[in-house]
């Protein structure tokens, strides 16, 4: 089963060609890590997947539908890079509002538990620590009970403990048979979480496989990655 698919997707921003005919499949039940240096096209791929932008040519499909169609997005949840939410609303209020956008939202208590926000329900977003704020964004991403979760560098700026806690929550989400697309700069994160890794370089796929396959003879995924894009 396929959760999402890019078919020869090209995306042009003015003179810049961010994606050059990308073919990519996210299978149901897997966590796919999308790696690449800054400017490799990761964020562009994420934006296309979320319907925030339109491909210049080619096709993006999520569960067979166009992500620019709101009905398709009922099955997607996302944590965007560096997103902030209004600081004066409480955790519970944010989740309440976002849940109302989806036809079959998760019960509030389950969302709170899955994101590890117990005891923080009544706190305002602006009063939370960086790690807690990320967990709220994670809660907003999963509250609609999505089948595909898109995480664009979700652990940037988190300390080790907070990062590990989020990993646990991501694993629990996958265990329910759902799919995740993760972009990250922390290759150890990809190694710890991913079923499959795709490496983007200048808008093209340069490697694809399990973390083991990508690693090959190198000591770490990071070594292999650096060699690959050198």
């Amino acid at each position: 089963m396929i959760a999402a698919q890019f078919t020869s997707v090209q995306k042009q921003y003015g003179m810049v060609e961010a994606l050059k005919g990308l073919d990519l499949t996210i299978r149901q039940g897997e966590l796919l890590a999308l790696l690449g240096a800054n400017g490799a096209g990761k964020t562009t791929a994420v934006r296309l997947l979320l319907g925030l932008a339109k491909p210049t040519s080619g096709e993006v499909r999520v569960f067979g539908g166009d992500p620019r169609d709101a009905r398709t997005r009922t099955r997607i949840g996302a944590v965007l890079q560096s997103a902030r939410v209004p600081e004066t609303l409480r955790v519970r209020e944010h989740i309440h509002l976002f849940s109302s956008y989806y036809p079959n939202p998760m019960p509030m208590d389950e969302v709170i538990a899955a994101a590890g926000l117990q005891g923080l329900e009544r706190r305002k977003f602006g009063e939370l620590s960086g790690g807690q704020q990320k967990r709220v964004l994670f809660a907003l991403a999963i509250c609609g009970n999505p089948d595909l979760l898109i995480l664009d560098e979700p652990t940037v700026g988190l300390d080790v403990e907070a990062r590990r806690a989020l990993w646990k929550q991501i694993r629990a989400f996958i265990a329910g048979g759902k799919s995740v697309l993760l972009t990250t700069h922390y290759l150890a994160e990809a190694e710890a979480l991913a079923d499959r890794v795709v490496v983007l370089h200048h808008g093209n796929v340069v490697a694809e496989g399990t973390p083991q396959e990508i690693k090959g003879d190198s000591a770490t995924l990071e070594d292999a990655f650096v060699e690959m894009i050198a």
Partner: protein, 250 residues
């Protein structure tokens, strides 16, 4: 429908919890009115006294402020935070975002105009039949739409930090030149000529018409100017929205 109502509810809560933003928007028109309207209130200007005249123009002033700050600045800030984009990844109808902000601007407008009526009739010398009040109230709250479009255009063009100063730079001089602080007839002739090109002037004339104190231009001119301004600002806002869609983020 539920989404729209919730969106309005939380928009309102956000505003209430940020008194540093909402209080000036609500109170400045009344404070200004207290100063000018009540002090010179008994003086006659044309067919009405100053207290009555200035309820209409400070009402106009307040409604425009609520639209530009509540709509314009908040869109610019939330765009900058990535909040608007976060919402666009959900199946939420994007209209709900804008409708809730329009509703908020109208609620703020209604509060401002009501406060002006209360202050004007208790402390000032305002004499206005209830039906006239209702008409003036209706014109002022409806006119908010034009300036929400203006605010939206600014919200999409201005950066998150520059939006508030830009709004102030436009709002305050424009209000003065349009005769919202002092009656337009008190201003020098060249300024009166400029005012004809400013949307707040036409808005104030529509408000003044309800109390019989407009300058007697054809109503079609005032209404037409408001409609043209709404369409123009709406088009600019739409272009800004599309520009955001095509933007490259790393």
């Amino acid at each position: 429908m539920r989404t729209y109502l919730l969106e309005i509810k939380y928009e309102f809560l956000k505003a209430l919890r940020l008194p540093a933003y909402s209080l000036p928007t609500l109170l400045f028109p009344v404070l200004f009115y207290l100063f000018f309207g009540v002090m010179f209130g008994a003086k006659q200007t044309g067919s009405v006294n100053m207290a009555t005249y200035l309820v209409a123009t400070y009402g106009t002033f307040g409604v425009i402020g609520a639209a530009l700050f509540g709509f314009g600045v908040s869109v610019a800030v939330e765009r900058g935070q990535g909040w608007l984009e976060q919402k666009r990844t959900t199946p939420m109808p994007i209209a709900a975002y804008f409708v809730s902000k329009l509703a908020m601007a109208m609620i703020f407008s209604a509060i401002i105009v009501t406060m002006l009526f209360i202050v004007g009739t208790t402390v000032g010398d305002v004499v206005m039949p209830l039906t006239t009040m209702a008409k003036l109230f209706g014109v002022l709250v409806l006119g908010s739409i034009t300036f929400c479009a203006f605010g939206l255009a600014l919200g999409f063009l201005a950066g998150p930090n520059s939006a508030a100063p830009i709004v102030n730079l436009i709002y305050l001089p424009m209000a003065f030149l349009s005769g919202l602080w002092l009656p337009i007839a008190f201003l020098p002739k060249p300024i009166q000529e400029i005012a004809l090109w400013l949307p707040p002037y036409h808005f104030s004339q529509l408000a003044l018409r309800t109390i019989g104190a407009s300058r007697g231009e054809p109503i079609a001119l005032n209404v037409g100017a408001m409609i043209v301004a709404t369409l123009l600002f709406g088009a600019i806002a739409y272009l800004g929205y599309r520009r955001d869609e095509g933007k490259l983020y790393g």
